[in-house]
């Protein structure tokens, strides 16, 4: 075990790249994000943990719009996430500029993950310590991809990343149905998040969704989030 994890991006005798696995630990310590896909669209719900009484939660996004039709939510190192989000926006914008059409969600995801992969193969830099859920609508319908620090991306019907993602995923596996309508799908995403996270302030939850009909990602306002949490009875102390 000794030594294999110190040199950047080399294989251990078991064929593992420890730096990538350790970057995964940074992801596991990030604030959780949930994604759920249903027949009419896709939803992202994310926690912004109240790190201090004086924290201005409005100053920080946990769900980022990449383009009109696609959004991403990271878990892990926030500074790393910002770099990848900016990169994704550049890729999406270039695509629109060159081809005059929205980029396919998988194509966008692949571009981001190819960048991630390079940081796992070449020396002189560490892998990105961040996972992303990328969700959107394209000509193939609703799409939801989970990416990890290795540069792998995999499509899911519902997925969770970050702290307590095990608990959240269990919740999703028990309660997921593909034929949900958008309203129920949003409820499921938020309830899954709440299954592992204590929500004390609506300002600490972000929700975004996109319907196949509209092909446009919309974020719930803080008031709408508050109403939703109240309806679901998920606000611990208000």
């Amino acid at each position: 075990m000794a030594g294999y994890d110190r040199a950047i991006t080399i294989f251990s005798p078991e064929g593992k790249i420890y730096q990538v696995e350790y970057a995964g630990e940074a992801v596991k310590r990030g604030w959780p994000t949930v994604g759920v896909k249903c027949k009419s669209g896709v939803v992202l719900a994310a926690e912004k943990r109240k790190i201090s009484a004086l924290f201005d939660s409005s100053s920080l996004d946990k769900i980022y719009l990449i383009d009109d039709h696609v959004a991403a939510s990271p878990s892990g190192l926030l500074a790393d996430a910002r770099i990848l989000i900016d990169y994704a926006r550049d890729v999406a914008l270039s695509h629109r500029f060159i081809y005059d059409e929205p980029i396919d969600v998988e194509f966008l995801t692949k571009a981001v993950c190819n960048l991630k992969q390079q940081y796992t193969q070449f020396g002189g830099a560490r892998p990105f310590g961040v996972a992303l859920l990328i969700a959107g609508i394209d000509r193939h319908g609703a799409r939801l991809y989970q990416t990890d620090p290795s540069g792998v991306y995999i499509g899911y019907f519902a997925a969770a990343i970050g702290a307590e993602s095990g608990t959240i995923t269990e919740y999703l596996e028990k309660n997921y149905k593909f034929d949900l309508e958008m309203g129920d799908c949003i409820d499921l995403a938020v309830k899954a998040l709440a299954s592992a996270v204590e929500i004390s302030d609506s300002a600490n939850i972000e929700v975004a969704y996109a319907t196949i009909d509209e092909k446009k990602v919309k974020k719930l306002s803080q008031d709408d989030v508050a109403t939703l949490l109240a309806k679901l009875g998920l606000l611990k102390k208000s």
Copy 2:
């Protein structure tokens, strides 16, 4: 022994390059793929393991078309595989563009493996942790090559890579005949895969084949795979 495996791409006293051997371990932990060549063509059959109940298996290819007449299926690190598949597609496309004819399968395989070799000789990067089966039809007939992380490629009548490749290869050695017709060849490939892998969902198996007559790789639809698995009695629980 201590130390030889830490520095990138140097020889051990026995003349081995440990980083390459360890990359081989990453291959052995990948989902298996089988290739079989017969007198009328060549077949690839691959497993996409159900990593989660919420995994959207349609989001992930295990067999990639490189050009009309050639396909590849990787085992090992999926992010690394993607880089090599993209590279192979570039090489094949350039060849078609420049020479106005499909690239020879061996020439394509050699290009991919020369790239792999470079990552075993120069410092500052790790080897690719991925093996590929490359199958296709060219002017020499049906071709099936197995490549490994060292950059070596070898032609086989039938071959398996990834987890349980030992068991699958044993099955192939016992049951292989070159004078199979395409239908029996497909059956053999799938049965070989099933000899080591429990198949619980037709969505988790991909099959592609190409006949010498048509010179075109075709993937079986998921329905066709289901029918085939049913016919062979290989679906464990549906």
Copy 3:
């Protein structure tokens, strides 16, 4: 533990980047700075410790104007801070030159933090050993961001960095109210600083503020600081 902290910018098994954490220690040993945001604007108050009887405190700024509407105050390695301040000024000036309008405070903060992030991911350089409070007024109102050596920035209603920042933050959490007028806001910032720091000379305190109405950062003259400290009864021995 041994070893993970020696190689630059690699992950430890827990997913931490020790060099970044150690850079944080340099910040904790810096002279403290306080930032407070209120409904009418934002305030920065900083200590310049009397390092010697012959120290010419007028020769050293602890609060730097970045542009008319935004200022920054560092804690940590002063030489590193200077590099980031110069960079921030370049970014702000370019923005004004290109777009003919003042830069948004968050956009400026992000530019500085993207630079910081790069020094945490690539080999061959150490992270910046400095945190910054960036405060200003833009079209969104009053803004206060805290940045750290990792390249993360987070908005706060009130924040402290540097030595004794724990004590100062505690003071702020107990006494902060958003509906303060500017005068009270300045008092709070200075009293928070004084809660952890012994002030023996008005020359060793710098205070700057900006109101939403004026959109302009102003520094208190040394006389004004002396008057303020006298009013608040905070000067230990004059």
Copy 4:
């Protein structure tokens, strides 16, 4: 001993370059190749070991034509060999193109070995783990050179590289005569190979020869090899 073999291409206290010596071990583990020079020409005979029952021996060359008048056969890492063979072909082709005449065998050998030497002197890359027998006819007559991973090349009347090369060389030393005719020379090469290798399939032996009269390398067909092996009584079980 400890340490001198880890850093790339540095001298040990005895003046040895261990990486080069270890690369030699990779050569010793390769499939053997034999070269024999006689008054009328030069012969190469090489083994392609049957690594698997499903191995398609026709997919792999062990003797490579470099140009009409010169061939090479490697022992050691096959992927490394491919790089050197391609390099040799480029050198030979350029020579023909620029000077409109076949390249001298020694000049070609020197070019290949100069490339090898560079990989023993500069950091950042490992030596080539491959030896080559280079044989051909040029204006000086028949030529046979053995190259090793250090970049040294030496001319021999008869030589063997790869596994069991000690045994084969012993056989050659006992039985070699310069005044052999080509037929006997081919017999000697194959018998020398068979002195250390069990031949179970004619497909696993390659033989090439060139006569001074024709100045052209010719490979024996698989049928001719079978006939030859039968004549010499060297096929163990057919």
Copy 5:
């Protein structure tokens, strides 16, 4: 402790950069220099230690003119000092050439210190092992800055660097008054130096001063230094 000081420019767990601290030790072993600022100007006094009876003290400057209005005196590695002095002269000359006015002393000091900072952050080079006192007159009046190997610069009313700088600083703290006239200021600087250094030859002391009225650095001739030392009774044996 072990290890953190070996790798260049990385943080220790306490947030220190040992290479910078060790460079500081080189400074502490240098010949001392004193700077004193008063209401009418600024003075530098420096020792050139008699390293050998055959040392030609006229061959070596300890106080360097950077431009008409500014001078610098180093302690530490003399070869490093030379590089920084040359750099400072380039910066000052360029400024005069471009803006047709003398450079501000702080601006000059900052340029030198930004260069120093870079050598503390990037790998592949060590920090400069030299501190500088930079003194001069500009439109803001008399200026005196002390710089250290980290790239920090701080203004002082009086300061000392190099061997015995603690003793000299103590002397300065006891005897310093800002309202000195230039003559007394020069006396103070020399006496401070003499408080820690045995002066046996006037050739081993350099003194330079600049008055606000003249804005010009002047060096005392060796005769003037001898007269001064005699007046102050500081010459041990003549």
Copy 6:
């Protein structure tokens, strides 16, 4: 001792560069070469050890013509020697081309040694493991230089490098006289070589000489060498 010899081209506490000293060990293990200068010219005599019964000694030079008037003979790593010989030929040819006259032997030697020196000062490459005797005639008369891996060259009246060079040098010191005629000078060189080396085949000795009158290096034919060895009674078993 531990460690100083591992890092490339750094000094040990005694001011030695171990990599250079170890490269010297490679030289000491090389086949010996002798050079002798006399009033009428200069001679080189070198051994090509019979490394195998099948070794084709005609394929390998031990004495290389650099230009008409100058030759060189290496001891040490043969592949390294080849690089230096090629470099020397380039330098000599360029000189002739540019200045239309033969290059001075010292100037040529210096060019080769400057290349060698670079490989002892910069990281990323090892020193050349080869010494050269460079002998020739130029406008200053007969010249004989010995170069070593450090890049030092020194003129000698007679010198030996390689294995047993101590014994050979002793022989030379006892028997050398400057006023020898060329014939005796050749005899001395060969006898010196034979003092440490058992000569069993005239093919394994090379001799070259140049007279001041002719300014041209000539190699003895193998027959002439055989005659010479017979005359001197130096052939052990023929």
Copy 7:
């Protein structure tokens, strides 16, 4: 102690750069050189040790003319010295070409030492293992500088470098007088050298001098050296 001396050009905890100190050891093992300045000029005297009975001392300079008016004599690694001598000649020649006047001796010395300094600050190369005495006449009169591997240069009335430089310096300190005439000055330099070195052959001593009147460095012929040594009674056995 352990470790600080292995990494190139980093500081030890005491602020020393061990690589530079170790390079100094290489200097101390070099053949000694003496320089003496007097009112009418400057002298260099150097030993070329008889390293072998067959050593051709005429092939090696120990005192190098840099330009008409300036010479240099190294102690330490001869191959390194050659690089610096060539560099100095380039600098002097360029100066003459550009400004049409001889270069100042100090300016030349500084250029050489700036080159040396760079090799002490940047990684990837070792310091130059050589000290130089640089002597000459320029518009300021006679000049004598001693440089060391750190890049420091210091003017002396008389100085010695290399082996036994301590003994020689002691001799110089006891016997030096500045008001010597050139003849006595030469005598002093040679006697100082002889105080530590046994002189058995006039060919092993080089002497050069330059008078202020002539501004030209002249080397004594070997006959003149012999006469001088005889006159001074310094030849041990002739």
